[in-house]
Symmetry: C2
Subunit: 207 residues, 2 copies
Amino acid sequence: MTFQLYGNLGSGNVLKVKYLADALGLPFTLHEIASRSGATQTPEFLKLNPAGQMPVVVLEDGRPLAQSNAILRYFAQGTRFLPNNRYEAAKVDEWLFWEQYSHEPTVAVARARVVYDGQKVSELDPSLVARANKALDLMEGALAGRSFLVGDSLTIADIALLAYTRQAPQAGFDLSTRPAILQWIAGCENELGLPAHTAENRGIGHG
Amino acid sequence: MTFQLYGNLGSGNVLKVKYLADALGLPFTLHEIASRSGATQTPEFLKLNPAGQMPVVVLEDGRPLAQSNAILRYFAQGTRFLPNNRYEAAKVDEWLFWEQYSHEPTVAVARARVVYDGQKVSELDPSLVARANKALDLMEGALAGRSFLVGDSLTIADIALLAYTRQAPQAGFDLSTRPAILQWIAGCENELGLPAHTAENRGIGHG
């Protein structure tokens, strides 16, 4: 099985697909799409994903699939990254939906405003910062005393949350006050063979 | 199998769980939680769902599950409402994630501002209205020439989108200009045994 990946690895939503594909040893071809270039709004791209968002994957048989977490679920099926146990699988889903509703629209949006729009951390919308901190605090609470979000091993719930949580310091969010998250990041990096999150990346800022 | 449902049927996210449970003949006990009452922020409720959102279900063995679409996936597993085909199941997931990212935060939020906050339709944030209309237009395009969102029969993708789409006219969104959506609503109502969406409900407004 191989696939085509349309997107930009600067996007956490795209990065999660790469994390899983690499962990599974699934080869893919990356079709680079510049962020904020309008390239996701062309008629060609909209045929793959009418929502005009990356990532999109195109499977070997030519059929497209969009929505990063739907892609994770598709590739993880039957692997160690998605529990067989029905309740545990549902808890993975709970995290995946929470990520897209409460984490990505806050943590990732704040980061995009800084990284892509050039906003200063100190000028970010305080309500956005508060909601992002609330999401990070929820993760910190959930990870206290645990290695991974669901069960005893890394699942796509961790993969889905990892990308933007690692990038959170770029928008001034302080992970150094969130030891459970830092330990979890290190554990995920270890499992996925990623380079270690550096101290400089941890940032200081909104707390 | 029976379960406890914590939530308010005025919320589309809660209503979707009821739609599926009723269709499957799953008995449940509804624990009514008033919207905007703070009842989802009590220590007791946060133990069930640290995100402080409804719905939450508590399964027969006492274990909780949150996130409406995770709940739909859990109960739909192995039933006619979730395709066996791996690609079709992934397309269902694509719609579920799209719903929580692009439809609920626009269509449902606009409706909540009118229904709960007493905002006038004409005073809604134009950017919110534009994004909601874009979501409804995407559905209209996807449903043209089809009876249901994925495959040939009703799935939880339809159930997830039905609740807030039916309520869209309450926030002034005009479904009368979206014939594919209207026909799809009627088809879903028929499949689910719901009372027909009335002409008065269709509303006129933002187009």
